[in-house]
């Protein structure tokens, strides 16, 4: 069926919309940060001269590279004579002479593997591949070789061969977690969502806290439009992982689904994810609440300049909101040894908390808001 162009996206309308696209505001500290870094560095020329006199000049001879150079020269001469007849097979990469051009005959396998690995880590992907291919060819049953060979294929954008490497490794070590995980990534990148999910489940059987597998399960369900499963996947991820940008994204995905059981709060310089349910004491296990309280307590103890504002909401029940706020403060004082009495401020409201996610407003019958002192802007709070 021919694809239709929606009437709202005619060329002119699209140009108009592009013109009006909203922009992000850069952080206010950015100019200062850049200038500080520039001023801290000596000028490029000065730095080069300094380096010339201060850096020892070394010359390293790598036996494998030397052999490779000599072999490649000889091979180039010989190839020149026979190129026409052999060209097709060489270009397909299945001619063993191609491997001879970089790997010394009889070289130690571990040395070949290490060389490939170092090149890969140094970002020399094309150069690394023949070494890792050769290591894999010599010892196909070694899962580590298969793993790195797969990485090299991935780095050179060959998803099919990458997959074959991992599968070969798994045939010999079916519970090798890095292989299972990367095979999952491979399926995911290829759009084979169900196969990716199977791999990630296998990873989680071995390590239930594996962050990439947990996170990508959320992405897969999201892509499949399975909202309930997606919701559970984000929660499962957040049960184990609360910091870093992936945790932030998981919370954002979860909140966009209208689920606020986890929320992200900016406290001083740090953005922290808390279990909303646990903070409100609605979790099944009291340990969950202790965990949240410990995190807050630690923040207060680590940063003596941080003052916390805790605001609680309970629709049509101001008293409950008040006791909820007071209870949290008491728990925090108990966890910090009452050292922070004056640094915790409480407010409470007998109304629902309104939050926005993905431009949609949500009303939470019970809510809690935590922020650091600098961000305080309301005059409606009730101080205890």
């Amino acid at each position: 069926m021919p694809e239709q162009i929606d009437q709202h996206y005619t060329t002119d309308k699209l140009k108009e919309l592009l013109h009006k696209l909203p922009e992000e505001k850069e952080p206010p500290y950015l100019t200062h940060r850049i200038m500080r870094q520039i001023e801290e560095k000596p000028s490029s020329l000065l730095r080069q001269i300094t380096r010339l006199f201060t850096t020892p000049r070394t010359f390293t001879l790598h036996p494998i590279r030397l052999a490779a150079g000599v072999t490649a020269l000889g091979l180039a001469f010989w190839m020149g004579l026979t190129l026409n007849s052999q060209n097709a097979s060489f270009l397909q990469g299945n001619d063993p002479r191609q491997k001879l051009s970089v790997v010394e005959a009889g070289a130690d396998i571990q040395e070949i593997f290490q060389q490939g690995r170092h090149l890969l880590v140094a970002g020399q992907r094309e150069e690394a591949l023949p070494y890792l291919q050769e290591a894999g060819r010599l010892v196909p049953e070694n899962p580590e070789y298969a793993y790195y060979e797969g990485l090299a294929y991935q780095a050179t954008d060959n998803l099919e061969l990458e997959r074959a490497s991992y599968q070969r490794g798994l045939a010999h070590a079916s519970d090798a977690l890095p292989l299972l995980l990367n095979l999952g990534h491979n399926f995911l990148e290829s759009g084979e969502l169900d196969a990716a999910l199977t791999q990630y489940e296998a990873v989680l059987t071995l390590n239930p806290q594996e962050s990439a597998a947990l996170y990508n399960k959320g992405l897969i369900y999201r892509e499949k439009g399975q909202r309930n499963e997606e919701r559970e996947a984000w929660k499962q991820y957040l049960t184990h992982h609360r910091s870093g940008k992936w945790a932030g994204r998981a919370v954002s995905h979860l909140n966009n689904l209208g689920d606020f059981s986890y929320r992200s709060y900016q406290l001083g310089n740090r953005r922290i994810v808390f279990s909303h349910q646990a903070l409100l004491g609605e979790s099944n296990s009291p340990d969950d609440r202790d965990r949240e309280i410990r995190t807050l307590a630690l923040l207060l103890l680590e940063n003596p300049n941080l003052d916390l504002n805790i605001v609680t909401f309970q629709e049509k029940d101001s008293e409950s909101a008040k006791s909820q706020a007071q209870e949290l403060k008491n728990l925090l004082l108990a966890a910090t040894g009452k050292k922070v009495q004056s640094r915790i401020r409480l407010s409470w409201f007998g109304e629902a908390e309104t939050v926005t996610a993905n431009t949609n407003p949500y009303h939470l019958t019970k809510g809690i808001l935590i922020f650091a002192n600098k961000e305080m802007g309301t005059t409606e709070e009730k101080q205890i």
Partner: protein, 184 residues
Amino acid sequence: MEQTDESIVSQVLQGDTQAFEILICRYQNQIYNLMYRCSRSPEDAADLTQDVFCKTFEKLNHFQRKRSFFSWLYTLSMNHARDWLRKQKRQVQETSFPPTQEPTQQRQKSPVEQVEDQERMDLVTQAMMTLPLEKRELLMLRYHYDHSITELAEIFELTPSAVKMRLHRSLAELQKRLGGDTNA
């Protein structure tokens, strides 16, 4: 009268490092937004913007006066963004972190007739995120920032007619992505 970029560059090269701040203020928002479109993370976008300006400062003596400072800066920025994206992709595999290029958000299924202007804008933003870096930036520079075809030709190292052709194709691809989704 506002000082030209090129005269500021001369000033910086003569030792007035502080003058570079004028160039940062002039272009950091545009570069930050480019990096934000690539990384979708405010923290990463800030770091990448910082990297680019520092790199630009270091390479300032290589700046050729025959091209505009902005086009040179944007080219450096695009290269930096490309390197970063490549590195991110590699890190996904090597350090077992989740892929950074997430699938775009599911669009609402409601008929387009009912979609408000703001929602359409959101859809365009999302569709733009799915375009390759070059196509996306070409469209942004031309239709959002109103840069001339000549400037785009400089930045992307193309002839003006090639720029026009690519703009046309990029718009068509964007239209297709939006059209495809609304028919889903």
